[in-house]
Amino acid sequence: MPAGNDQLTSLAWQPLPGADGAEIYPLIRKLDTISSNSYLIATCDALILIDPGGLPEQAEALAQVIGTCREEHDRPVFVFLTHAHIDHFLGVQPVPAFAHSGAVIFAVQECGALSLEKGDSSITQAGLFSTEVSPMKVALHLLTPERSACPNTPCQLAFSNSAEITITRDSAGEGSESLDRETIRFGNGPPLEVYHTPGHSPDSICLKMGSVVFCGDILFAASPGIAGIAGWSQDDLIRSLTGFEDLVAQGTTTMVCPGHGRIIPAANASRMITAVRTETVALENIAELNSTRAAMAAAYAEDCMEQINELFTIMAGRLYYVSWVADELGETDLAEKTADIISGQTIDGLMEAFQAFSKEHHTSGESSILLALKAGQVIAKLRQSFDQDRLAQIIDPGFVQRAGRLLSDYITLLRGFTPPTDVVARDIRVLTETLVTGLSVSACPDADLLSCDDDDEAFASILLARIGGRPLLEDVAVSVRAEEDREYLGYIDADTLCDLLTYILEDLTGSNASRITIELGQKERDVVLSVCGDIPPGSRPLQLKTKRFLPALCERAGGRLHVQKSEQALRFEIRVDAAA
């Protein structure tokens, strides 16, 4: 791939900008959580590999490039880790060129170095990804407390592979100099600056040589599924981002090489840092992302994706239907515009990719976090792929709002927060009757259509909304039974209860129920809301969402769900605490 002035070409040697005599060989991967990018730098006195990655094949390929360099001009090899997460280094462990103790000098910030020497599974994230790390020797501990006691004092270090370096702890200052830092000289070549930037992990560092900064994962540190991992610290991250921002804003920095994804021009990186800091500030009180929460997020991801798939298929179908009717009415332009609001092909592609990933995941028994993160990726793309406001003007806004809530709730949960609920005393009868009325009548009454017969655009808009807003319960007889003039006050989150009732009514309608009865009552300290639909004789049973999704939704609404299924009827009973 040809590179511009602010890019480097992957898998090719080229001059390292701003570093006289140094060359760089980047290995830029498609963004994923399995393995990082790698950057190999050659100076006249050393070969410096930054982040060899999480895959043995990647480490093996780098070992071959290093081998060729050493054949041409033998130099000592250093491997720097921007932090000791497995996706940045695990690939080296089975590769002999790296595993032979002493042949390669590993350089890691003190805290990460100690974790690697113990074969720790927490700071390295090995536990989260259900894998193991063998203890490994780290010959060069960076930013040690001993050196911090002697700032500005060059320290000569010699290693078993005959390498010699000079390392100097720099004194504290303003801006980027507020970060703990030291400078390493490998003979007469350009120096390597090391900056401590904890937050994503306690051992995170940024490295700078010439005008290029290697920043590890600091730009991803506030992302869902990453914020909150073991060793993550909001306070540290905010401080590090401030120093990092100054480092990037210096006129001497031209590009930023991240741990994952494409190389970033310095100007763009500054904007990204501002966004990451804003996100980080909002991440107060997030739960730790450990194996238990990863398993919970993965289970929720699968339930959520099933519902999202169904809702998006229905919404896309509803748009096709609107487009079809518009076409039948001779409104060809309107039909084409309508069909384009959602890209069914994009959505199908995303959902099918997740289904395939999920199937493979269950076959291979991989760590839950991978499934949870994959769902996060798909959901982020789905959020970008549809215009909620425009869609809600044409099809039943209930579908659009529920889809929006499912997407944002999943991201909230993956971030480590509990999706917000507002459980307060509400009259469940009023909520139920309002919902049923809303689902039984058209959202666009005749009067609206007649009132705009002289405005073509408004007429078209209302016409589409009338076609697309077909009420769910238009062909079903629904009755709500309750004692006359009685309030049924219960502690409930109104929005979530309405979502739950809508899912239930959709399931009953989908089961071809011709009559649905909703009853309200009180048993002991509970308000009981039961929804019962008849099932036509000979019907095939519907696969109910009752295993996890509906009970969990009911719990979030503030209630408990019980389902009874017989040959003639399906009955959902929701119990909520009665308010005095």
């Binding site: 169904e310 298929t313 229905i314 079809w324 077909r470 309608t509 036509p536 696969q543």
Partner: protein, 110 residues
């Protein structure tokens, strides 16, 4: 996805089994188009073996409904699983073409 075809005089029944998704929807469209190109204008899709339909599948159904809307043409579905029926109902497709509980009822109704 598998498709088998049976002719009942001028009526053609396509039995479909499996998932109708991005990769299989074009096959379904081709199979239907072959029938239409062969001047079959009364087509019934038996969905008793269909376990899943994506928006790509819905698009094929709609395209078929557009092709079979001349006087005398017929296009219908039968034997849907509740999951697929629910999608078609909520998408509004039940007013575009008829859906029958079984093949027998569909053919008797034509």
């Amino acid at each position: 996805m598998d498709i088998t075809t049976a002719d009942h005089e001028e009526k053609t029944v396509l039995f479909i089994t499996g998932r109708i998704d991005t990769s299989t929807a074009p096959d379904l469209e081709q199979a239907i188009n072959r029938q239409i190109d062969g001047q079959k204008r009364c087509i019934l899709l038996d969905f008793s073996g269909v376990t899943y339909i994506s928006s790509g599948g819905l698009r094929v159904l709609l395209a078929t409904a557009k092709k079979l809307k001349n006087p005398g043409d017929k296009f219908a579905l039968c034997s849907l699983s509740p999951e697929v029926l629910k999608i078609l109902k909520l998408a509004g497709f039940t007013s575009i073409f008829s859906i029958y509980p079984s093949e027998g009822e569909a053919l008797a109704g034509w």
